[in-house]
């Protein structure tokens, strides 16, 4: 199985390549990709240099153009596709099927991957994207169990890539407008979720309050470490309960299921984290590379150190495990 690694900066990109990534994915510095954060991503020139560096080391580069084209401004996405192809991207990761159609028609030789943001969660959906646009690989939404994936793999005609480590969307990706409901900025349209521009922290008595737009997302007593107010990982009042209504502040880790994923028919394992620094990328990629190449009995010790890097140091297998639902 391939290891697909994130890079938000040229420095992180080189770290990922050096640490043993089979492919690195990244995006341009604008709203064409779903990690459109200040200080992140690549200019055309930086991307060209990164691809050259990766090529020399035998690593592939995937370019994420995985937001939905804003009506009337499609040229921004078309130009990004043109430049990614020209610079030698090994694959484009796309979510908008208008853009998929454009790429399939204009650059028929270009390898096309279906982004997790497209929410292709079943055989009819995946095969549609394969037939209509020649998709070669699908990144599956984090809504499936490992046995769901195995069943799907038998019925589709393209490769499967799944997220195994890092941030975790609770909602079906590409189909969530919670962030724009609170802030006006959304993953689909602006490439951001719970954007820092709308985050505020304030002290209220003994508690630190985190807010997104006009809404309180969490309150932390003094003894508790405060987390970032990602909307779906906030604490709310629901029914008679007070707590994490959608998901705890956890991150995804299913690296202990590598063998089951391989048997299920998965071709590539993906690490989330284009917003992470180069030290994090280097550590995670090199550890997961070793784990992937190690014997199953040696993996546990390797993976234990990664727990420390995870958000809140707590992890979940998410939807891969049936009980999570």
């Amino acid at each position: 199985m391939e290891l697909i690694c994130p890079a938000g900066t040229p420095a992180a990109f080189r770290e990922a390549v050096d640490a043993g990534a089979d492919a690195v994915y990244c995006g341009f510095r604008d709203e064409t990709n779903a990690r459109n954060f200040p200080g992140l991503n690549f200019s055309r020139q930086e991307l060209g240099e990164a691809i050259t560096y990766a090529r020399r080391k035998g690593t592939q580069t995937f370019i994420a153009l995985n937001t939905f084209m804003r009506a009337g401004h499609e040229d921004l996405w078309y130009q990004a596709a043109r430049d990614a192809v020209r610079l030698g991207a090994d694959a484009l990761i796309l979510a908008d099927f208008g853009l998929m159609a454009h790429v399939a028609e204009t650059y028929p030789e270009q390898r096309l991957h279906v982004s997790v943001q497209a929410s292709a969660s079943n055989p009819d959906a995946v095969n549609f994207l394969v037939e209509a646009f020649g998709a070669r690989r699908v990144v599956l939404p984090r809504t499936l169990t490992i046995s769901d994936i195995a069943r799907l793999a038998r019925q589709i005609r393209c490769e499967i890539e799944v997220f195994v480590f890092g941030g975790l969307c609770v909602m079906a990706e590409g189909r969530c407008s919670l962030s724009s409901y609170a802030t006006g900025k959304s993953p689909n349209m602006n490439g951001v979720c719970s954007p820092a521009s709308h985050v505020r922290y304030r002290q209220d008595g003994g508690e630190l309050v985190s807010e997104l737009g006009a809404y309180t997302i969490n309150r932390f007593p003094r003894e508790e470490a405060a987390g970032y107010p990602t909307l779906c990982k906030g604490r709310f009042d629901i029914a008679d309960a007070r707590g994490y209504a959608f998901e705890d502040p956890v991150s995804l880790d299913v690296m202990d299921q590598i063998d089951a994923l391989r048997e299920a028919g998965v071709s590539a394992l993906k690490i989330e984290g284009r917003q992470r620094g180069k030290a994090y990328v280097a550590e995670v990629v090199s550890t997961l590379r070793k784990a992937l190449d190690a014997k199953p009995e040696d993996r546990r010790a390797l993976l234990a150190r990664l727990r420390l890097l995870s958000e809140g140091q707590r992890t979940t297998a998410g939807a891969y495990e049936k009980r999570w639902r």
Partner: protein, 311 residues
């Protein structure tokens, strides 16, 4: 296109209403509500299908007798084999047009006239035209779209009917996990159908007691109710002629009459807004997405904000 008569569509009931309540709701819609099209069928959770199945034949019969055009809805999230089978058989056997709410239905409907629901990501005219070429005759655009995008898509996609969510809590997210079951101490596989206890959704409040969201099984909807009333005139001018009313647990016949009155020029939109607040007092109104702001916002005097200005 501009000469088309404006019409109302009743969207599918997104919540779990038990058999009789569901049946009686549609009987009354058939008899009294000025809606032309009725989109019907489970959209949120495949586990709920057996609640309404027995009531389908009499409801369909009553709606047809009343001259309503019927469209069958499909599931928003299809992951299990039996969910795939359900969508396949619905598409294969439906005597009525089918509305696609995910990519599987979209794929299966190629080549036959069909509708696209608001849960399919249509953010630009390239995508809308692609869907039209595949057989879509009607697209209900996603609630998140601002007016500028709507105007652009509609003007660049001739020959297809566009619809907008004009009333109802907005669908915001869907998950493999059931937050509704979780809130009541269950997991999805053993949910005991607790979502039927909340026919208008289960409110989610912030720790500072702000009303924020509502959960409806695996779906999360806005706490606010989308209300496009002052915007209708501009929308008609830019080529949108169909407006969707999404059923909430209130007098939907009154809601339909109110929208019909505004569309026909019998009722001033501002008066309509205050009447709507009385008909559905449970949720504050919002129209923020339409005006390019946060979805929960309410932009008053919206009629002064032009639509076609940017195009």
């Amino acid at each position: 296109m501009n000469a088309a008569k404006p019409t109302l569509t009743l969207g599918p009931v997104l919540y779990l209403w038990e058999g009789e309540k569901w049946r009686d709701f549609y009987f009354r819609i058939a008899d009294e509500a000025p809606v032309d099209d009725v989109v019907i069928g489970e959209t949120v959770c495949s586990k709920r299908l057996h609640f309404t199945d027995p009531c389908f034949p009499p409801v369909i019969e009553r709606l047809e007798a009343a001259g309503k055009r019927i469209v069958f809805s499909t599931l928003a999230l299809v992951t299990l084999e039996r969910e795939s089978q359900y969508v396949r058989s619905l598409v294969a056997d439906s005597p009525y047009p089918v509305e696609a709410n995910d990519l599987s239905a979209l794929a299966l409907l190629e080549g036959e006239p069909h509708w696209i629901g608001p849960l399919v990501n249509v953010y630009n005219a390239t995508t809308a035209r692609l869907l039209a070429r595949r057989g879509a005759t009607s697209i209900c655009l996603p609630p998140e779209l601002p007016a500028s995008s709507i105007a652009e898509i509609v003007s660049a996609t001739p020959g297809i009917a566009f619809e907008l969510l004009a009333f109802g809590r907005m669908p915001l997210a869907i998950s493999a996990r059931c937050a509704h079951a979780r809130a009541k101490g269950h997991i999805k596989d053993n949910c005991q159908f607790v979502c039927k206890e909340d026919p208008d959704g289960l409110p989610v409040k912030t720790l500072d007691r702000q009303s924020f969201l509502a959960v409806n099984g695996v779906q999360t909807v806005s706490f606010t109710c989308q209300a496009l009333l002052a915007e209708l005139k501009d929308l008609l001018a830019c080529g949108v002629h169909r407006f969707r009313l999404s059923p909430q647990d209130c007098d939907m016949v009154a809601v339909a009459r109110l929208y019909d009155d505004v569309l026909q020029g019998r009722l001033d939109p501002e008066e309509g807004i205050s009447l709507l607040r009385q008909i559905y007092p449970a949720a504050p109104l919002s129209n923020g997405f339409h005006h390019g702001q946060e979805g929960a916002a309410w932009v008053a005097r919206a009629r002064n904000i032009g639509h076609g200005a940017s195009t």
